[in-house]
């Protein structure tokens, strides 16, 4: 499996989907923007795109468009808490450099 969710991340995603009341799963991707080239995309999925690669990780259906897949190969999505702030974090082995705040990156 090229991309995985940590167990904690999967639990939170299921939780959020539940609270939202609808949604098929989670879409991951990258797009070009930001100060250091690329940025991650993390969205709920309401309608399935036939081109997307689809797989299951800890009970969450994950969708990734084929173009993004090469940038995300081997990535683990984790859910962490830092002080009062909590959220998702991409542990991506492909990243060579990222901007100061880490919102965008380069491969």
């Amino acid at each position: 499996m090229p991309v995985t969710l940590s167990e904690r991340a999967a639990t939170h995603v299921k939780n959020f989907l539940n609270k939202r009341g609808k949604g098929l799963g989670l879409k991951l991707g990258v797009r070009t923007s930001g100060c250091s080239g690329m940025a991650y995309k993390l969205e709920f999925v309401d309608a399935e795109d036939p081109e997307d690669v689809k797989f299951d990780s800890h009970g969450v259906t994950v969708y990734i468009d084929p173009k993004s897949l090469s940038y995300l190969e081997g990535t683990e999505l984790d859910f962490v808490r830092e002080g009062l702030n909590e959220g998702f974090k991409f542990n991506n082995p492909n990243v060579k450099s990222q901007c100061g705040c880490g919102e965008s990156f380069n491969v």
Partner: protein, 622 residues
Amino acid sequence: MALLQISEPGLSTAPHQHRLAVGIDLGTTNSLVASVRNGVAVVLNDAAGHGLLPSVVRYQRDGDVEVGHGALARAAEDPHNTIVSVKRFMGRGIKDIPDAATMPYQFVDAPGMVRLRTIAGEKSPVEVSAEILKQLKARAEAALGGELVGAVITVPAYFDDAQRQATKDAARLAGLNVLRLLNEPTAAAIAYGLDNAAEGIYAVYDLGGGTFDISILKLTRGVFEVLATNGDSALGGDDFDRRVYCWLLEQSLLHTVGDHDKAMLMAKAREAKEHLTDHPEARVTAVLATGQLIDLVLTEAKFNELTASLVNKTLAPCRKALRDAGLDAAEVKGVVMVGGSTRVPRIQAAVGEFFGQTPLTNLDPDKVVALGAATQANVLAGNKAGDDWLLLDVVPLSLGLETMGGLTEKIIPRNATIPTARAQEFTTFKDGQTAMSIHVVQGERELVSDCRSLARFELRGIPPMVAGAARVRVTFQVDADGLLSVSARETGTGIEASIAVKPSYGLGDDEVARMLRDSYAHAQDDMTARNLAEARVDGQRLVEATEAALAENGDSLLDADERAALDKLVAALKTALTDGDLTVIKRASDALNQGTVEFAARRMNLSVKKALAGHRLDELEI
């Protein structure tokens, strides 16, 4: 690296463009901050996991400021410097706080708004509120990991312009950008209406720590319209505590206690009330400064008896709001309960009985307002595309201006939805009048003296014209926050004058309620007063027109007898105007009108002759 949140499909924010926005419920007793994360509105907790921040600010000798639980814990020890329920003083003058003497604070009467003397100097309620907002802002920024774009702050539906302005000032002082002030019941409706996709007529019963509001809302396909609001700004959970506190004193045969004991017993009273929510009785034990021991048991039945009149006091505004909205209790589809005090079982039962249904309590009544505000903030910050739901709030009291004779001309009627703009044309009263004074008032009464004066300004430079020829267009505009601006424009010349109404602080909510009540009670008097004032204005105009005409050609067109008769009629009307009642003025006006018929006809002939003299018939366009 930065932590990410899940976005709605297609709405991932670009890096560095996260638009963090929060909703803040700046309450009398407790305040909260909430934000939409991963598509769901959640209350942001502090490091200790508390969601509610007690709206308590304690000023210390060294200038340090303590806010929240720490300050609340010290309230009993340091009552003079620990400001509780500051929201009650927002935008109020000392005369608006009738129970000031029973509070432990040293009030300083300052122009506009009362100030509080603390160990760290004099503080205005705006500054105290700003401390609470600062705390919430810091908490939100730590929790969201970035700077806030803005905040939606909720206010009671009954807050007048002065109180809304004070709230905005407090936010600015705390470094918050106010996206919008939102009425609390509307926020609650957003939290319930959208999350549960409900439609129909809803009542929002909000019994907070210090204020009570009832609002009748109409929810249709995500559009909120506030049909009517009513309430009592001096009624809340604190009053329930006070009843229990008084009972404690009574049972202990005490008359007065020190500030320290008072704050301690108030806290005990509150604990007892909260305990009774799900227990049949509560035990109160305390040791006073005098060493006297208090050990009492308060049963639910006794508590209900003590507070029955308070519960009933909330039902009268419910009835009025329904009447304002033109609805029956049976037409209300659901009742939303807001405010921690609505946990009291007797209140839920009474409200259920009044509306004939079980009230909705499935969202936490303490959090529902903040959650709704967060949802709204998320939309206003631009984080939710394709979403066009509108938010309609209402003007609590009619806005208008003063016309001749001290009468009110209503431009924006009460309960008009905002934002709104209305215009009306006015004209000059006297020949050659070059300026017009515009007096903006708020209230339901017919006479200006019974309404509240908001602002005055003058439109100058109107070209001299005969009375009634100038066209002055006066536009009233109320923005989404409920703040008013008025502009006047003479349409012939385009000259303009305008004013943003920065209301003088000081109109209390109860005053709003009183003004409303008065308008019902005095409906008949008002009509009579209006008729009299109108008759006076008409009579005055008649006197002036006749005198002008007499001066011009009274001698050439009238013989001495005719002239004397007219002079007598004019004199009679003048006397009637100064001290006559409606019928006397009407009779004198009619008499003068009758008496001048012949004179007017001769004047008309004269001017026609003048116009025709020296012209041949074929030169005239007929």
